[in-house]
Symmetry: C2
Subunit: 353 residues, 2 copies
């Protein structure tokens, strides 16, 4: 690296380690939809192709209107991004000044840390507690310099959630000066009646930004579409800092169609619930410790080096994710697949264990 | 705006003003390919749709390999982005520290300014000289604090180029400590034998980054794909700061196909040259001053308020771009269309003048 040229923060940025795809192996390593993309989205994309010489709508207005009517919020409460990563970057570039404290949990999805470093925020790491976000410890870490708290619910890679009552208690003690960002990339998979109603906080005018994505539930990770929900005064400055044409035309068209693809979404939801329960039983019969999950993946403690184990599994035709880069060198994250995929997974696990 | 919350730089960011599209009007306002997207790209996109549930390749390796063999440079000399805007942002987040001076020409494409502000660079604006980038004045503006110089060749919105000999003379006096970024979004349209060979500078190890895009010549503005060429040591740290999955799957597949769509590209190139000459003659017969262009658009001095004039043209079925937001309130930028589109343009101009 050109140490004299690059920004000092760059050297501290950890490499992003993606889930592996291996030729011939079932990919259960990146929490993608095992049924493929939403078929309605694919049809919308095919129709939109002819206009690809033209720039996308800078304001993603049609997609934001679809979201507005879905969430019963004004269109000004939404901004769309090139995936949720782009939303995180827009939040960073809009709100993080050099020296602002940014609270992030340890051992979670790494892009929060990346964003804090890109905008010279002071990272404050709070450990998980029994593989769950520790809202009490996070609240206790707030100082007058705290600008942003990043929460993930359900959490990645542990699959756990904090409850509505836990979030309510948390919000009561967080000062008005702090922006609470809740990344709900996996929220659609949760069956918990106790899942926090973050949108009600947005409606009541709290300093809460909620992030959602089309990458998981809607099966469109390859297309890149995510969005952020917040009160309009928090969203408006984000339109100034985003790149003008950040959301491609096919993503705008495909995401709108996917929102209305109820057959596909129901199938996705039901399969995830049914297969999750089945995988729990299989893990138990294999004597494997796992964490109960509200997402489309399960953290499993394999009590041996995860990287080697996952390499062996690839040899057996299944790719899952070692959590080494997350700081759990003996745990793996398994995305919940179709019944057929999960059977192959279990067969491979039995051989490898 | 939440003045107490947002980064101080945000309030100084100008709004991005896109080219207008109006229902029923021919769009000659955003320098898009008048023949639509590359047909080969469309076929590749249709094939790639089925894999859209999966994340894109983080490294864009296939696209970078296609570029590497095209330019006869190592694959490590390339990084791809969500359009050239994303490349600009990656350059900013990798290289601009707070207080670094960033030299930008006045009255040009506004994203350089946006990027400098997002990373708290000190903007140094250098005026154009007779509608052209003034390389002498830019070189004279360099100080020990200068980090980056942004050049655009051909320039937007003037269509002018600086020549190989001008660039050679410029590079001789720019210190080694400065990164010279040359945005060549429109380079493929230039017929000039004197167009600078920036790639030779990359090959020789100079601190030069060249930006190209699939948005113009290849007809894929709606898909978002751009790339940057530089020596590997300059490119490597940019992979650390970019968002992991910045280039969508369809863009990676479509861009590779477009690169090889020689029939479409030849048609695009020839039409642009032929129609440019024809438009020059038409402008002359209308008594309109214009700037000779090496790009796919022409700056025309209409000597009256451009916004009103362009609104009137929309009423006559043609949308062109007023250069008010660029600081030329009496000039318009006309994208070169197909023969049919240009005939309608000329007819509309005759009525409106």
């Amino acid at each position: 690296m050109n140490e004299e040229l690059v920004r000092p923060a760059v050297k501290d940025i950890p490499d992003y380690v993606p889930g592996k795809s291996a030729p011939g192996a079932i990919k259960l390593s990146s929490n993608e939809n095992p049924f493929g993309p939403s078929p309605k989205a694919l049809r919308a994309i095919a129709k939109a192709g002819k206009g690809l010489q033209a720039y996308p709508d800078q304001m993603s207005i049609n997609l934001r209107q679809a979201l507005a009517s879905r969430f019963k919020l004004p269109v000004e409460s939404f901004i769309c991004g090139n995936g949720a990563d782009d939303i995180l970057q827009i939040i960073g570039e809009t709100y993080i000044k050099a020296g602002d404290e940014v609270i992030v949990s340890k051992n979670v999805f790494s892009v929060y840390e990346l964003i804090a470093r890109l905008y010279d925020g002071e990272l404050v790491f709070v450990p998980l507690r029994d593989f769950e976000l520790d809202l009490n410890a996070i609240a206790a870490a707030v100082t007058p310099k705290t600008k942003i708290i990043f929460l993930t619910n359900p959490n990645n890679p542990t699959g756990t959630i904090f409850s509505a009552s836990q979030f309510d208690a948390f919000m009561k003690i967080i000062p008005e000066s702090v922006l609470v960002v809740v990344d709900e990339a996996y929220a659609e998979f949760s069956a918990s009646k106790d899942f926090p109603k973050t949108i009600d906080y947005v409606k009541s005018g709290a300093k809460v930004l909620v992030i959602r994505t089309f990458s998981k539930y809607y099966g469109l990770a390859g297309l890149r579409a995510g969005y952020c929900i917040g009160r309009p005064e928090l969203i408006a400055p984000m339109f100034k800092t985003k790149m003008p044409f950040n959301v491609n035309r096919l993503a705008q068209a495909g995401a709108i169609a996917a929102l209305g693809d109820s057959v596909f979404l129901k199938k996705t939801y039901q399969n995830n619930l049914t297969e999750k329960t089945r995988l729990y039983r299989e893990f138990e019969s294999l004597g494997l410790e796992y964490k109960e999950s509200e997402a489309n993946f399960i953290l499993v403690n394999i009590k041996r080096p995860a990287k080697d184990f996952c390499q062996e599994l690839i040899g057996l035709g299944v790719s899952v994710r070692p959590l080494t880069s997350f700081g759990f060198p003996e745990a793996i994250r398994i995305s919940i697949g179709t019944p057929t995929q999960n059977k192959k997974l279990i067969a491979a696990l039995k051989k490898a264990l």
